[in-house]
Symmetry: C2
Subunit: 219 residues, 2 copies
């Protein structure tokens, strides 16, 4: 049975983690949420807590790791415990993956050096800081490293990964099981498709949210 680990931290983005969890939990593998400490971990908007069932130390050799993004990745990326843990799990993982700004954590751990990678569109250029080459693709596979674009892209990434580990038919069955036949009421889900005014509105909102997060963290 595949050991699939999703590490979570204060101010992570829930859908980044729960999208892949919902898909990968249906592959026959075991999914575990882990944190620096076991117990409830608060999401980025402060409205929800998800429980870390175990500590990082209790999950150092998963087959698959899925690193979600969040508004606090700048803080997490400076935490030697997190970086060392990411390096440790990557050393023996079969797949090392991220969603949204989770890729910045992989980058900070040195895992993306020389690779193509993606992230939330707001943070693509930050990948260069870690020696990665940003791409606008939604799911980027480089050897055993797979990065996904922002938030909801984790569902597409996880279906791609499910096909690798359980076969195309199993992935199709999962897609049907979660009735993933997307029909968004608008077509504004990427920078290329959205109105430039909206792009700027988001940039402003996220900058403000990040400032609040840093304030809460006392940074």
């Amino acid at each position: 049975m595949m050991d699939i680990v999703i590490p979570i931290y204060e101010d992570f983005t829930a859908l980044d983690a729960i999208g892949p969890y919902e898909v990968l939990s249906r592959t026959g593998g075991r999914v575990r949420f882990v944190g620096r400490e076991a117990g409830p971990v608060r999401t980025d908007n402060g409205m929800l807590s998800v429980v870390a069932e175990a500590t990082l130390e209790e999950a150092t050799a998963p087959d698959i790791v899925v690193v979600p993004g969040g508004v606090s990745t700048r803080t997490v990326a400076e935490d030697p415990v997190w970086l060392e843990w990411l390096r440790t799990v990557h050393a023996t993982s079969t797949w090392t993956t991220s969603v949204c700004t989770g890729s910045l954590l992989l980058g900070a751990a040195g895992i993306l050096d020389g690779l193509q990678a993606t992230s939330h569109w707001l943070h693509l250029e930050t990948l260069r800081r870690y020696g990665a080459e940003p791409t606008g693709r939604r799911v980027v596979e480089q050897g055993k490293v797979i990065t996904a674009a922002g938030v909801s892209a984790g569902i597409d990434m996880a279906l791609t990964l499910a096909a690798r580990i359980a076969g195309d038919d199993a992935a199709r069955a999962i897609q049907l099981g979660i009735e993933y036949d997307p029909q968004p009421p608008f077509d504004a889900g990427s920078v290329e498709k959205a109105d430039p005014r909206l792009v700027e509105a988001i940039r402003a909102a996220v900058a403000e949210r990040e400032a609040r997060s840093r304030q809460r963290a006392g940074v």
Copy 2:
């Protein structure tokens, strides 16, 4: 500020709840997860707990209620506390909504009588038991009642709802914020599109999972 309540129960499906949460939390409203008791609530596969921040009794007059599905809806639908709570919140809600088999709970509470509605494709016909007319549409709006199809359809439903409460541009900004530009690697997300063999495989798997859930519940 809109009071948005997501009631959760043992064996609910995480993405049913977290998809709408991720969208609606970005409308400017406050999202609260509530349960029969406050505290961690285990999801359908036993691999994850999400925290109910308050009890049902502490949230009887939300503006919006979003009822997720799960493998235990048959049990919940027989619980008078749940049914009474659903009737109470529906009496004063601005919007009463469901994802996946959450519609069976709305149905059991008498909320769908005479309405068109949807659910997970496996359970569409069960809606007739509650006087509802099943439709194959992904998001079904009937006055203030909106039902969504299986699991991932909650994201599309929530974007539709976000447009109603915050305007089309706000909904588009949210779609861009969560980078919801779906690109599933397969096209098997609905009964019409998937291979009939896969449809049958899912039917068998879900029947088995439901039997296990009833066994755990001692039913």
